[in-house]
Symmetry: C2
């Protein structure tokens, strides 16, 4: 095993460290966050920091760095209070990645990619067409993380849309059925396939699979 | 598409909601967090909430709920200041899942599974043998998330170990080469494979793959 100390990290080049540290915590979710500015310009941006926070109430978290791209997302969330989270599928990866390019605020990434807006009844903010899981989220609060000048945004899930082919009768969404991808680091897109699903773990009992 | 409102969620059974909301944000990292109590008892527990926070300084975050399992992990981190993060591989999934069983604090999950401790020079806390990426982390601070009574623990990466077969010359670790798994929801383990890695996105230029 190669060993890297905190001293080695501090002496490493910026890009090398960025690649290493972004890939060392494991797979990350790949989501397109869509927002709308107050003057009606849509924005869509790839995020790998959307995480589950709790199910009752249904809350998610995401990390934003206000001083760097994609800053429009955070600005729009703060101004309108809402955003959508859309799963990235295998056939969207090149377009999803392109949303990380540094476009001006008056340009919609929907106009610069093959990603298409999808609108739902009574919701102004667009979703991404073809995403098999889509969340309509409301800004709840934020925590400033002083250690590295980032913001942990907390949001509630107000509405949830999913392709019924993914749904299990106990509520679980089997997302590999929708060809949903995961991120390995900043820029590598991976396609996961289910190995096994296990029942609730009980002490001194062997791990058991769910009946297929 | 099936539509679920916040009202539907509040009326849903607890397990149904737990399964749905845990699987609706996308894939999650699968990590074994190992800790040691002040009286020397090891603990290892599966976590899906370890996330990248920043690369300079190298920081990670994880979400803990102090009132539920795995509470020993949080207690040990607070008492000793350190923990290790170990990637879960395909052949470890049944044992990794079993660490979520509710064992008493005086029992080490290493004794109840085939997971094996691995010790490194000058580090008291164990790692998990066979994990192709292992992080030695130091508690830095925490943020109490009042919206759902959870704690966002912030930690620095003090040392990083990886299997050199995963490493790319620009620092990126290609973790599918180590058969690292991802989680879909609470209990479903998935094996991702790389589709493509893309170069830095530039406006009005097509997405380009990294040279293979």
């Amino acid at each position: 095993m190669k060993e890297i100390s905190i001293q080695d990290l501090s002496e490493m080049g910026r890009v090398q460290r960025l690649n290493l540290i972004n890939s060392c915590t494991g797979y990350k979710s790949a989501n397109l966050i869509a927002t709308q500015s107050l003057d009606g310009i849509n924005n869509v941006a790839i995020f790998s920091s959307v995480t589950h926070l709790g199910s009752d109430p249904a809350l998610i978290g995401l990390i934003v760095r206000p001083t760097t791209v994609p800053r429009d997302t955070y600005k729009n969330i703060k101004e309108t209070g809402y955003f959508t989270v859309n799963h990235v599928t295998e056939n969207m990866i090149a377009d999803a990645h392109h949303t990380s390019a540094n476009y001006e605020s008056n340009i919609s990434e929907f106009d610069k990619t093959n990603l298409q807006e999808e609108y739902k009844e009574n919701i102004k903010i667009p979703f991404t067409k073809g995403s098999p899981v889509q969340l309509y989220c409301k800004y709840v609060s934020e925590y400033y993380i002083k250690e590295n000048d980032t913001i942990h945004v907390i949001a509630s899930i107000e509405k949830l849309y999913y392709n019924e082919e993914l749904a299990n009768e106990d509520g679980w969404l089997q997302i590999d059925k929708g060809n949903v991808v995961a991120l390995n680091g900043l820029d590598a897109y991976c396609l996961p396939k289910l190995i096994d699903r296990f029942q609730y773990a009980r002490k001194d009992k062997p791990t058991e699979s769910f009946p297929k």
